[in-house]
């Protein structure tokens, strides 16, 4: 009997183990999709801008070489205009073959005037990231103007992507941003992250890391699920996000409150971008990003109006050009997005518009730029 019970105990662990594995296989999504691209399922297409077969639109330091190569081939040493924004710039709602983003359209228009436009955009890009990226790009291109998109939603963001933090590996950038309070703060946080990475780098040379990598690679070869763990993690987090939104009845129209900490940091970074541009004699166009206006916007209106006012005031003080483009895209050019909760099938998209919206954005920016570069 005792032996029988022992075997039963063994089985608990073994059955539990196999149950866990079965659950993993059941949970594994059929379509592999990265966490950043979850918004692009069926309604919106990620489109990076091209001109004459070369990339004129990049995300960050991971793909910047494509834009540098493009400039070397087609730029002829012309003055560069940099455009910073979020996923609105690289997404087309209800995409059809041949649709182009504002970055490509504006690039072509500006090329006729002898300027070379390069766009940088990341999902939920925040102004601290833009500050780092701008400081880095100053040393890469002969910059004449910058176009800076300001988005109320992204003032809640505070994370700096590793692919943007990499800019601080450049001594020029490090020295430049070290002159400002927000820059110092970014360097401190970067060093914390960098030290962890350094630890990992150091361990790469240790026996443990060598062995760890070896076992990991072997395991990935013999067991496919092990190599799919990134997908599983993304899928799990996405489902938790949907679950949270379902429980708290969150949808795209739910009011997003200002978060003071990130807001203050991003506003400070904004000031530093304008200061740096002024110092380098680069003229700047700041605009309030278009937003869907046919239904109630998901912001506290008092907070949102204060934000717009603050952006405009700072731009005026710093001698930058300001334009409010929030209403330039009519409701018919917006679209839908896959639902952000389990309850609805689809939701309204406040951030990404259709190709016609891109044409309007490009035209409006060009109009404003013409005023600057008379």
């Amino acid at each position: 009997m005792k032996k029988f019970l022992l075997i039963k105990k063994d089985l608990t662990l073994i059955i539990g183990f196999f149950l866990g594995i079965i659950l993993l296989y059941l949970f594994l999504p059929k379509n592999k999709i990265s966490f950043n691209d979850l918004a692009y399922e069926e309604y919106t297409q990620r489109v990076m801008g091209y001109a004459n077969g070369e990339r004129v639109h990049c995300n960050d330091l991971d793909d910047i070489y494509l834009c540098i190569e493009g400039y070397k081939k087609n730029g002829n040493g012309d003055s560069v205009i940099l455009w910073f924004g979020n996923s609105q710039l690289h997404s087309i709602n209800s995409y059809s073959q041949g649709d182009e983003t504002a970055s490509s359209l504006l690039h072509m228009a500006l090329r006729k005037k002898g300027y070379y436009l390069i766009t940088f955009s990341q999902p939920n890009a925040n102004l601290q990231e833009n500050y780092l990226l701008f400081s880095y790009l100053l040393n890469q291109f002969p910059v004449k103007n910058i176009i800076l998109s300001t988005v109320y939603d992204d003032m809640r963001e505070d994370e700096i992507r590793t692919s943007i933090y990499k800019t601080l590996e450049d001594t020029y950038v490090l020295n430049e941003v070290d002159k400002t309070t927000i820059g110092k703060n970014l360097i401190i946080n970067y060093k914390k992250k960098y030290l962890i990475n350094n630890d990992t780098k150091a361990r790469e040379e240790t026996n443990q890391d060598y062995l760890e990598n070896l076992i990991n690679k072997k395991l990935e070869k013999i067991w496919q699920l092990w190599s799919e763990r990134d997908t599983l993690r993304s899928h799990l987090f996405h489902n938790l996000y949907l679950l949270r939104n379902t429980i708290f009845q969150i949808d795209p129209t739910t009011i997003r409150k200002k978060i003071l900490g990130p807001y203050t940091k991003n506003m400070t970074a904004y000031k530093e971008i304008l200061n740096l541009a002024e110092k380098k004699k680069i003229e700047t166009l700041v605009y309030i990003q278009p937003i869907r206006n046919d239904i109630k916007i998901p912001y506290d209106l008092n907070e949102y109006n204060l934000f717009k006012k603050e952006i405009a005031t700072i731009s005026k003080i710093s001698g930058a050009y300001f334009s409010n483009l929030e209403n330039i895209v009519p409701s018919k050019f917006w679209g839908k997005t896959s639902s952000i909760n389990f309850k609805n099938k689809e939701d309204l998209d406040f951030m990404h518009f259709q190709a016609e919206g891109h044409q309007l954005l490009s035209k409006n920016i060009l109009y404003e730029l013409n005023k600057i570069n008379k």
């Binding site: 059955i15 539990g16 866990g20 594995i21 949970f27 443990q208 763990r229 949270r244 003071l260």
Partner: protein
């Protein structure tokens, strides 16, 4: 070597197979060799310090016993000076030099700063405390010195508890090495289950809380609101608990696989109803060590000589100075920073206040005392974690003062998820306690139901551990 790595699991697997195939002598050699391999994997440069420390103290203890009283004391002093000196050099020298420089500058004496590159050897605080307890026990005649060098080494470097404890006494572990334990599936199953729980606490809970805490503490302290401070205090409190108790779980599980019992280091510490009870439930082996080798000798009381029980002493007379010294040392043991001293002194004050209040509650009913104890102790303990994690004393003060700023209770400065996750973990902690201690016992007698429950529990744990298993996150207590 990290516990949350595939290489550790492989090492443990191979070690276990060889261990159960071997006779007693080979087993001891196997423990010794595996422990050296385990420590050496993180870098060979500190292995010699560890080995030198073991050899030196083994000789001292071996010859100490045969000498007369004054020579014995002299040898004890040499050993203590060596061990504390080693700890001081690696852990505190830079801190003291930096502070001396600041102080001299404050006095107007200009001293050019200089740079010292001293890296803290892994686990030095833990193995030094184990060695000190051994030498002191031999000196006091509580135990006989161990003649077998390998066996003594195994006590110090036993790989499951080498890097971050539990801090064991030689009398608890050496006899177990000498016992020829028979193979039992029970050891394997209990051990593996403990390791699995430990991995869950580390890779699923602690490592996923860490970015939220890191982010919260990267916000300038003066921009935080009262709710933010409470949230960060609780969140870090849970992170450090999950992180450290996971290490202890894996340590206990790894030892149990080969039939060696290591006492529990945690027992639902956040359910403590007083600071005294908290130190009976939190890092039990360290608080027991501090009790036996610092506090009780200072108050000239009888020492317990065991790594269980924690800092829970019933003394008639309150002696503040020994308590103050004990908590100062306890604080500094955790790290060379004034913030750790503040943490220690906070606990000292908390214990003093509790000793003053406790007699007043004698006439109240048990349930009122229990609930009020819990309601006051938990937030107070959580606030104590602020200096443990903050970068400077000024940040600590700003954060602590924030909780009295009633206006800032209406403001939130972090992402909504941070608050939500904190509440979920808080509730989850109490639900787990109820499940484990109350409800689980009720249907444990029903064999089939409990087996089904266990299968699903293990299944879910496996599911999450495999998804989140990553070997790039160290344990917090490695830095101590």
């Amino acid at each position: 070597m990290l516990f949350n790595s595939l290489s550790y699991l492989l090492l443990l697997f191979l070690f276990t197979i060889l261990y159960w195939q071997s006779n007693l002598q080979i087993r001891i050699i196997l423990i010794f060799a595996t422990s050296l391999l385990f420590y050496g994997f993180s870098g060979l440069e500190f292995l010699w310090i560890l080995l030198f420390s073991i050899t030196f103290n083994w000789f001292i203890a071996k010859y100490l016993i045969n000498l007369n009283k004054s020579y014995r004391f002299f040898l004890l002093l040499i050993s203590l000076t060596f061990n504390i000196g080693l700890l001081f050099y690696f852990k505190y020298l830079i801190f003291f030099i930096n502070n001396a420089l600041l102080f001299s500058n404050f006095l107007g004496i200009k001293v050019d700063p200089f740079f010292l590159n001293i890296i803290l050897p892994l686990g030095i605080s833990f193995y030094t405390f184990q060695i000190i307890s051994y030498v002191l026990d031999v000196y006091q005649g509580t135990i006989k010195p161990e003649n077998n060098f390998i066996l003594f080494s195994c006590y110090v470097i036993f790989f499951p508890q080498l890097v971050a404890g539990p801090i064991l006494r030689s009398s608890e572990i050496i006899p177990q090495f000498l016992k020829k334990t028979k193979f039992s599936y029970d050891h394997i199953i209990v051990g593996l289950t403990m390791i699995l729980y430990g991995l869950f606490l580390k890779v699923v809970l602690a490592d996923n809380i860490a970015p939220l805490v890191d982010y919260g503490y990267s916000i300038p302290a003066n921009t935080l609101s009262a709710i933010d401070v409470w949230t960060l205090a609780f969140l870090f409190g849970f992170q450090i608990y999950f992180d450290f108790s996971s290490y202890s779980h894996i340590a206990i599980g790894s030892a149990r696989i080969i039939g060696i019992y290591i006492p529990e280091n945690f027992n639902f510490p956040y359910l403590a109803t007083s600071p005294k009870e908290f130190w009976k439930r939190w890092h039990i082996s360290l608080s027991s060590w501090v009790r036996d080798y610092i506090y009780l000798p200072l108050v000239k009381s009888k020492v317990f000589h065991k790594s269980t029980g924690g800092f829970f002493i019933k003394l008639n007379k309150i002696q503040l100075f020994p308590l103050f010294i004990t908590w100062g040392i306890m604080g500094f043991w955790h790290g060379a920073n004034w913030t750790f001293l503040v943490w220690g002194l906070y606990h000292f004050l908390f214990i003093c206040i509790n000793r003053l209040i406790a007699p007043l509650t004698k006439n109240l009913s048990g349930i009122i005392v229990w609930w009020s104890g819990l309601i006051f102790t938990l937030p107070a303990i959580m606030l104590a974690w602020v200096p443990f994690r903050a970068q400077s004393i000024s940040d600590v003060m700003i954060m602590w003062l924030k909780i009295f700023d009633l206006k800032s209770y209406a403001q939130l400065n972090m992402r909504e998820n941070t608050y939500l996750i904190t509440v979920m973990i808080f509730c989850g902690f109490f639900i787990t306690y109820l499940l484990k201690k109350r409800i689980y016992h009720q249907f444990h007698s029903k064999l089939f139901t409990s087996k089904i429950f266990n299968c699903f529990l293990i299944g879910f744990i496996i599911f999450f551990v495999i998804i989140f298993f990553r070997s790039n996150n160290q344990f917090i207590y490695f830095q101590f």
